[in-house]
Symmetry: D3
Subunit: 242 residues, 6 copies
């Protein structure tokens, strides 16, 4: 019923750790994908480092008093069971319908995810007991904080299904990159191609920044005209030789 | 993977056809269920009659350009395939994330649902080609109308799963009642009990309306105090004898 | 604790019955009042005629399960008690926080208001059992329709207090004019002055419309330059002589 | 400073009069244009017929009390002057920032537009004095109705400039098609190509509807598989011969 | 007209100072109260400590230019007068309709509240002159910051009345607990019972956290099954003996 | 086509550097201007100092896939060209329709603005590559951060035109003051008069704060009654003598 989690090879992870989410969106937009950045999800703590990992998805629907009860926390389809299925290194992506008045997880669930080696938590909802969550050290991207438990607004219905998160369709095993600008996904099928272009785009923009630092004007530089493209090509070549 | 559709017996249908959605919500609230009315879904045509039926659910996530394409309309997981699985008499409940700028269905899909004997369509999204949809005669409750196709904003991912629709959790086989006030669900497990209380509540409110028509003041009448409760009891008894 | 209702003299009512809400807002804006039109309140039935009357205010706060119960309908501070205090000819203005998923009133309460001679009901919330409400004949301006009872979303706390309705401050005894464009208030203290200017503004705009019908261009006509102002003055004078 | 209005030839107008806005969006989406349908604009009167015409744009910014005054109605940059510049047959598209509490135009301005032969008015804002506007007979698509004048919420700044309307970029001379589903634009540069494909798409969908009417199932029909595509080709050919 | 402020005994204050708002919402949800956490109100300064106190309520309605003027600041019903009525130790809860473009209070009013020993300020609106407000040392929970004065968007109408704040009904003398997760209320009538359960819930969750720290899995632990409940019981007993 | 940028004299700049945005809004409100504070724009970095400068405006409309492409970055009407036209000392005010899912500028464009001596950037949109933007040292006020490039949601159409920003009409050369409370504008025509009153208002409020610090109650002090006004007058006079 749910989709198996794939590993992400170390080379891909390493390459993407050097690429900003801004660059990923630029590269994907050039391929026609304009809706890959998850809205309403921000770093919970300042200075959280960039993360890269496969998406492990969780899905909520709205609360119904006959379903969303503290008793439901013990049912076989529960957030607890989902967490016990998360592989080390994955990024948990939780579709919470953008609900801001019920916290999906608090300190206990985040502590358990941390113990299991989950890389981080990304949601369009909020967390609760923020002091406790920060104490666990799990990196979290979310819309904010609320005291009430998830059952005050949400009913959990399953994991590793396609979900909506922040107005974006997230499928299990999409690759997530998340940094200070928030979370972006790379569709699994496009991974190798996107990764290569991202690395190149980062290098080009670093060169452009160096030119701006020296006082160059923008027109003809960003994007580069033929002359600047050639200057860049030579610089990149020289870089490669070092 | 998806849940089988249950029939709804004729006696239940008949009883609920005499009960307003307002009454259903009153009875469910007394049982502690405050979130059973689907927001953002209104009759598309004036004068659509009340409908009663089992929910057959469809689920969308947001559009992604690599997924939501006209080509996807031919895939095995498609709105087309979902429609061919709908049993006669069901009410299709489509969770469309409240999206108002992409129509989930147009004239062709609605015509096919009508042909298959689907009782009606309820969604928190919108339909397209409204003139064509009205022409099919399928009763529709929705948030309005938009020209663009579903793939401009939505990706279809499955049917007969738990969904969010209008801020309410709808499960396959919940019983839907829909009228001029919109759509309400009755959890399958509570059906018999709720039905009985609804019929009684309708009768009580009819008696109260008759008293107001004769000039009675509200305090002590609605809800009835002991004296009025007794007067009603006698009237109801007399009604029963006729 | 609550403010007494003042009557509205027949001459004022008659004069304002000939003035559109659009004209009232134009006249008030010239006096510096830009926030007098109630947002989110529209005619429930097509063709409801213009109404003029004193505001009789009702105030809700959000629902709390320990307060907003069916039992609360029998308490001394209840919508029922408020209705029994409404004088004939008033316009009930109900501040419902813009809540759209709980109906403030249904058929029974509207029927009682109609019986008591209440001129109409204006709210930034919604009504329930819309078929029943339309059956009572009470003119209603609201944001729409919802099945759930008020206690699903709101707690009633009092009447004839200052309220917020549609983003506007409404005080008991403000004069309400409501037509196809919705509801506008005239502060009691400004009534006579505003009324006189409204009557004049309506006459001026009627003359301008007659000029447009004859093919006149807008610049210099609306608003009138000196020449057109003089032409209008002569026409108005001639009108006065008839 | 402003862009000149181009005429629209009679053949194009005639062809597009037979094409629904739903079809236009389908054809444009296949070309990668997903944001061409104006949100928040609906027919003011039921049964308004489809219109086709060049966009004549008007632009508002928010109100500022030192600028948006009744006196400003007489300034050279005014809605009055803009209207006197509208050519017969154009569709006025007014970017009103989605403001719903100040009416952009009332009866007088709409009457003048009607006199000048303007085909229709499309806005993401609202109109005022709705009874008067309906009386002028000008077809209007808007978000609703409000009593206050434009200066209560908006300042007019120019015409025939690029504007935002309903979340869509509208440029002067884009071709507008508007019907019961609202308004869609066709970029001027794509007009001929889009028109041809729209006509063909309408014919295909008519054939599919005829098949559904005869009981055909959707998979393989919509979109057509090879067999159905061939059946359609033969039917279309036969149609052509008649 | 307004309700007298009750004191809060030291024992209750002390007990609740050890309880998180998350725990209060969990306990109240088990009693059927799902709407007790105030939306849109966050700590203004990082690290503000938890506060406990009786609610002293203030109520605003929208601005009206004839009422909301700088002159109104001197009227007997003013925010100034309200502040002079606040008892030491209370928490001022200000219903500001969620308005984010007019600051309810600035440095002067906050300085005076601080002088009077008010424990803190909670609002669903915003404050102005944030640098000045932070300088007063008054702990503030709000939706953010805006430069304009309250009269640009709000009219003050009274204190110690039932109010709406953050979508929650707050009554004078409800007990407020506010920390990093925001503000929650405990209805006065439920105080003793809720307090006792909160203390117990905090202890249980501390034990569960200790188990997670040792590597325990969640199912059967949170909530505890019979075996874990027994283990906890023994631990708690042992704790009690220390 | 675009409006020339005026310089701002040093004396005005110096005077306004000592005035808070809160005070500017108070003074403008007394003149009847209630809509001068830009919504949805906050300091990107903590502790950004107050800035004063002329507005240099930029205008976006929504994205259209045929217009908003990476290729468009090289067109003559581009954000790059706009930046090259900004004079030193101006404050760039960018109307971004409140779009939060596409960053208007990233590190490269901000670095270039910084190089050109632009004083700061104010927008109702968001920036991208926030780490890079902070690295440039350009002071930014915005609604937040998003990874996608501007063309994912916006099309740039011009500079030095009247724009909407944060629900406020901004004209080229309006004077902007921006601090921790956000950005406010002073219409160019009112500059000298407003400046003088602001300086006096700041002095009065400083005196009131000193009185509150000494334990004075608010009524009669803020605003001052005759006695306190006289006390202030004497204090101000004494100040002047020092």
């Amino acid at each position: 019923m749910t989709i198996e989690t794939l590993p992400l090879d170390a080379k891909t992870t390493r390459a993407l750790m050097g690429v900003s989410t801004a660059t990923v969106t630029t590269v994907l937009l050039k391929k026609g994908l304009r809706n890959v950045w998850l809205r309403n999800t921000q770093p919970l703590a300042p200075g959280q480092p960039r993360l890269v990992g496969r998406a492990f998805t969780l899905r909520f629907v709205p609360a119904r008093e006959d379903l969303a009860t503290p008793a439901s926390w013990g049912s076989p389809i529960s957030t607890r069971a989902a967490i016990e299925n998360m592989p080390a290194g994955c990024i948990a992506v939780v579709g919470a319908l953008g609900v801001t008045d019920a916290g999906i997880f608090g300190d206990i669930l985040c502590a358990r995810m941390q113990k299991r080696g989950v890389a981080g938590l990304v949601t369009d909802g909020v967390v609760r007991d923020v002091a406790g969550v920060l104490g666990t050290g799990l990196p979290v991207w979310c819309q904010g904080t609320a005291a009430p438990p998830s059952v005050a607004g949400l009913t959990f219905v399953g994991w590793q299904e396609p979900i909506a998160c922040g107005g974006v369709a997230v499928f299990p095993n999409d690759v997530i990159v998340v940094d200070q600008d928030g979370a972006v996904l790379i569709p699994a099928a496009l991974l190798d191609d996107v990764m290569a272009q991202c690395v190149e785009q980062e290098r080009l923009e670093a060169w452009i920044m160096s030119q701006v630092a020296e006082g160059a004007a923008l027109p003809g530089l960003y994007p580069p005209n033929a002359e600047n493209a050639e200057r860049y090509r030579r610089w990149a070549e020289a870089q490669g030789k070092k």
